[in-house]
Amino acid sequence: MSLSLSAGGSVRAASANSNASQRTRQPIVTGTSVLAIKYNGGVMMTADTLCSYGSMAKYKDARRLQSINPKTLIGGGGEYSDFQAVTELLKRNALEDKCTADSLYDEDASEECAREVWNYLRAVMYNRRNKMNPLWNDLVVAGFSAQGDSFLGFVDKIGTTYEDNYIATGFGSYLAMPILREKYREGMTEGEARALLEDCMKVLFYRDCRALNRIQIAKVTKDEGVLISDPYELETDWSSAAFITPKATLDGDGGW
């Protein structure tokens, strides 16, 4: 049986005894939304550090933002094992590029830019989809293109690609995208972009059952490359009067 990622499993069963299907039908350990936004210094991306096992909050320190090379950052939602496989594949490619560069003194020449990584991922994901055995992920690719302008793109498990100034996957496309569409402006400062993303992550924590308030923020800039923050907790507000005053009193209507 081929071990390569794009092989997507063999057509025939591996052995005479195993009739088990080798196709991914459902994700088991999953990450939720990934958000990303372009700002004046580059691209910023954020995701929480939770991987759920169905409805259980099993892994509370999962790293869903990964740096591929100094120009490229990827974030992934969906099946975590598939995301790890994708990351390994991309990092292996980056290493091979580096080791087989025409000139070992010219570091820039060998690195894949973000747009190339995005296009490559499209090919990988679409190929697996055609074999009816997808890598069950929503991937966000952020970085810089070869020309030097910032890049932000999206690839999903069936190979759909999309490029824009801001991206939201999973539940984020329902809860965070309206906020991003309303508040986004060209050339935001880093502080503004971060505040906007944190506001969106707070809303997601309030309303997405599979989200956590412990998040990571990452940015890609031309000068500093990829920087991924340590995880930190968002402050959430539960002080609304409606939550504090008990409803089930004899005076009131019982809240029903």
Binding site: Y174, M177, P178, K202, V203, S240, A242, G255, W256
Partner: protein
């Protein structure tokens, strides 16, 4: 025995607002047959569907409590499948002078359910010496009816109003569950609207702030949800008893300026006198010989 039996003894006068008890499953057999026929139709490969799809309101509806009352908001698009059936329907329904209700789900269900409960509230006010209806009464009446129909009446409601106990907002689901909240959204655009509420809601807002937040929330639904669209309707119910129903508070999708900007040929808008009149004649129209003068009036035989 007297031939004239006293019928009034046996026929007890029923109370005016008797609600039928128990579950009503009258239409289940009919619905099953329709489903079956519809499947046969689909299997035989015909393009048209057997039933027109129920007009749903897709919808973004919201309600929030502010310092001096409640603000309700709704979009105005009604969809039948993927087609827009009504570009400017009214989703904020009157229940009582101090209570209004936004409805999402099947348009007929929300319309008729709210009308029914509005009439029940009216009767209750008449029976209880005209005291003001309470929001919790409307909520209880609605949920009792919806639960009786086990979710088949597809009405998801945001109920808001002000009574002696202050301002209240409730959300009511088609199966009959309710929740009392400070702010709520329902319908297909509820996530878009809720994201605006969660970032912007604080306790004790002023009326301007409340209205502004509701407008932004509905606009988020209008522009980010395909089941919602057209205009924003806003309804404010204040603690002092006054209400303001602002139909079409925001109209971001008005096509009139676009239509007016189209350059149509001058040939469509000719002023009179463009073509010279050479001769004109007038001949009155005669109706085959019979006129009113020919009619003779005779009295009816009694």
């Amino acid at each position: 025995m007297s031939e004239f039996t006293n019928n009034t003894v046996n026929s007890v006068k029923k109370p005016v607002e008797e609600t039928p008890s128990g579950f009503s499953f009258d239409n289940i057999h009919r619905n099953a047959m329709i489903e079956q026929m519809s499947k046969q139709q689909a299997a035989s490969g015909s393009n048209s569907s057997y039933l027109p799809q129920a007009t749903k309101t897709g919808t973004t509806i919201v309600g929030l409590v502010y310092k001096d009352g409640v603000v309700l908001g709704a979009d105005t698009r009604a969809t039948g499948g993927t087609e827009v059936a009504d570009k400017n329907c009214e989703k904020i329904h009157y229940l009582a002078p101090n209570i209004y209700c936004c409805g999402a789900g099947t348009a007929a269900d929300t319309e008729k359910t709210t009308e029914l409960i509005s009439s029940q509230l009216d009767l209750l006010r008449m029976n209880t010496e005209g005291s003001q209806s309470r929001v919790v009464t409307a909520c209880t009446m609605l949920k009792r009816m919806l639960f009786r129909y086990q979710g088949h009446v597809s009405a998801a409601l945001v109920l808001g109003g002000v009574d002696v106990d202050g301002p209240h907002v409730y959300q009511i689901y088609p199966h009959g569950s309710t929740a009392k909240l400070s702010y709520t959204t329902m319908g297909s655009g509820s996530l878009a609207a809720m994201s605006v509420f969660e970032s912007g809601y604080v306790d004790g807002m002023t009326e301007e702030e409340g209205i502004e937040l509701v407008k932004r929330a509905i606009l988020a639904g209008v522009f980010n949800d395909l089941g919602s669209g057209s205009n924003v309707d806003v309804c404010v119910i204040r603690n002092d008893g006054t209400t303001k129903m602002d139909r079409g508070a925001v109209q971001p999708n008005d096509v009139t300026p676009l239509r007016n900007a189209i350059n149509r040929s001058d040939k469509l808008n000719m002023r009179s006198g463009t073509t010279a009149v050479l001769k004109s004649s007038f001949k009155p129209h005669s109706v085959g010989g019979v006129t009113l003068a020919d009619v003779t009036v005779t009295d009816m035989e009694t």
